[in-house]
Symmetry: C2
Subunit: 417 residues, 2 copies
């Protein structure tokens, strides 16, 4: 006689497993998840009804060039899409079009409809490099915010006290140091919260600097008789210098449009302590794979090997697997094996300043560029790389052993003395 | 040869005189006038163009029974109408209909359209007892506030900082004692200010507790490229007890609908120190007449004579001159000459408690009421007066010489021992 598993039991177990799996994927790498139990219930209901959750993610229509720092949230969204859920990107066109009514903040200039549309277009092209187009809805919050009248605005405003609003970090700081806060600024968190009501968001994803606003969405939904959204916060990703938040202005970023070699090489430059964080936040590997890598590193494996895995993983995400292979080969040839590419020559430099400036005369003397002026032109045009990474400044630090690439094919290795 | 006054010169002088006169009437009795020079210019322009100024006065649609305390502002408005200007009464129906969205404040229950309309109707019946109907416009602020959308609301909000808003007395006090302030409450001053913009008000009249809101109107008008309204503040009028602000709940009020005798008698009860203030705030006498009364009082005239003048002045404002005469005669008969009216009897009372309670038994014994219960019923129904003023409480203080009126025709003078 065969014992049979009751179908219900099997189902129950499988649902529980699925919930556990989803929760694990969602939480991986996150700083915080508010409303965890509620989220589990939502996921359970979603599994049982086959109805995906609404995952909300807001962005300003300022059209950034997306780098791996921005991509942290997008990859998390993608993971949730892979779990079957829907992503709603909320483009803050309403706020964008208003700009800063005081005109004091240069960064908050009012945009026209067509500027907003153009930026949103650029943005979408970029996000669909990462997100699944079929499981993504793009909404503009002007759709509903433009329709609010004063009575509705006052109703919104009545859901929060002035004291509570002043608890928000930046408002608190400004209030107590006497930096003016325009009354309209109190509305931006409320508007973001109202977006959640309008979209019946099940979960909102935000950077860790968005805690206040995202939680306000929860309380406003409760106020309006909705189930409150779960709030998932992703950490900020440090740039390749390992210290500061990744940002274009600090030049410590890896853009998602950089060529495979640059991308690979830049990843190889991150400090070892960031390897696991990059795996968690900048790739799509599953929690189980991450555990394997953690084990490997704990077992004393050479961090460089893990970093190569990471660089290949990241590079294949934004290019092809073959591109990643080629980038790896280039990297190993150029740096790891300490063999210079075939075209490389040695360049004797007296490092008086310790910068690229010291190399200009030797390069001219060696006949690699026609003149100092030509070199500067080439530098300005992006035709100079150090260790595989574009540089654009004579102040760039240069030390013995660095490989300079001048133009497409000329490689030199700097030697001192 | 006759010297001729140049017409321009004559004109100029007469305009200057008119301005001086108008300013004097406007400022009489006021606590403060902000924008005095601007107001002079507005008046000058008004005289030259024949175009009246817009005088704004706001009120809640809560339909109070108007007493002399409320009438202070209305009389000032009437004086300005007599100078040729237009009064715009702004009924805050928008705020009234919203009520308090938090539902926490009982006093701010949302009213329906028909309630607001009914209250506004009652209010208008009362104000036209004082104001000139032809020079009065009644507007409902819902007209324009209902049309504001979020963008316009944010624009309004951006004209003020949170810190500035928290300088308002009541907000300041509540913020620093931890009493919650709903964010929507910050909008009430802004809405009042916006009313001024919408009405292109030249002057707003407010109680001295309205300073913040009225001044906000000035700054918002400037912001919107309008000439800022002048801001005129009237003091609060003390009640007949001479201590507290006149109010129904403190039972120290003189209602504008009280009969002539009651009104006259109540005025006679105010302390001497308030005679001039009542002349200034509760009558329409001209500054020159007020000067005469001041002189009289300085010359040592009996304050009671001045008070009789005042009581006649006030009584004739709300009744006829004849009614005022009759009230005076009644008063003098009853109180001043210490002669009781013909119907009066003496009532011997042992003042054990010093209150009306002591009189009940003697009244029953004298056959003036059937029983203690009947007296209590009469008292509750408003059928008992002391010195011409209705009383409704057995705790009411009674002393020797007081005249009690029980029912329509029975008068007794209290005598002790």
């Amino acid at each position: 006689m065969r014992t049979e598993t009751k179908p219900e039991e099997k189902n129950t177990e499988s649902v529980a497993q699925q919930i556990r799996h989803q929760m694990r994927v969602i939480k991986q790498g996150a700083v915080d998840l508010i409303g965890e139990e509620e989220l589990e219930q939502k996921i359970e209901r979603s599994i049982q009804t086959g109805k995906p959750l609404n995952i909300k993610f807001g962005m300003d229509p300022s059209a950034p060039d997306i780098h791996l720092g921005h991509a942290v949230a997008l990859r998390k969204l993608k993971q949730m899409q892979d779990l079957g859920h829907n992503v709603i990107i909320v483009i803050g066109d309403f706020t964008g079009k208003i700009g800063d009514p005081t005109g004091k903040s240069k960064g908050r200039k009012a945009m026209t409809d067509s500027e907003v549309a153009a930026n949103a277009q650029t943005y979408q092209e970029q996000i669909f490099h990462i997100l699944d187009r079929d499981k993504t809805q793009v909404r503009y919050n002007g759709e509903w915010l433009e329709l609010l009248n004063l009575e509705e605005v006052l109703n919104l405003a009545s859901t929060i006290t002035v004291a509570r609003m002043l608890e928000r970090d930046d408002f608190h700081r400004r209030f107590h140091t006497g930096v003016p806060i325009g009354l309209h600024e109190f509305f931006y968190p409320l508007m973001q919260a109202y977006d959640s009501v309008e979209l019946k968001a099940d979960l909102e994803l935000g950077g860790s600097d968005q805690t206040f606003n995202v939680l306000m969405g929860r309380s406003l939904q409760k106020e309006r008789g909705q189930e409150p959204q779960a709030a998932l916060f992703m950490p900020l990703l440090e740039g390749i210098d390992g210290n500061e938040k990744m940002s274009k202005s600090l030049n410590n970023y890896i853009g998602i449009y950089e060529d495979a070699r640059t991308m690979f090489t830049k990843v190889m430059r991150i400090p070892d302590k960031l390897i696991l964080k990059y795996f968690e936040l900048a790739t799509d590997i599953m929690p189980e794979e991450l555990d394997l890598i953690k084990e490997k590193m704990a077992d004393g494996c050479n961090p460089r090997d893990c970093k190569i895995l990471l660089a290949k993983e990241i590079t294949s995400l934004y290019h092809s697997a073959e591109d990643a292979e080629m980038a790896e080969r280039f990297f190993i040839e150029a740096f790891t094996n300490k063999e210079v590419p075939e075209q490389a020559e040695k360049l004797c430099v007296v490092l008086e300043h310790g910068t690229l400036f010291d190399c200009v005369r030797p390069l001219v003397n060696a006949g690699l560029v026609g003149s100092g002026a030509e070199f500067r032109r080439l530098l300005a045009q992006g035709g100079v790389k150090k260790n595989g990474v574009k540089i654009d400044n004579l102040e760039e630090a240069v030390k013995s052993g660095d490989v300079l690439q001048v133009g497409k094919r000329k490689f030199v290795r700097v030697e001192t003395g």
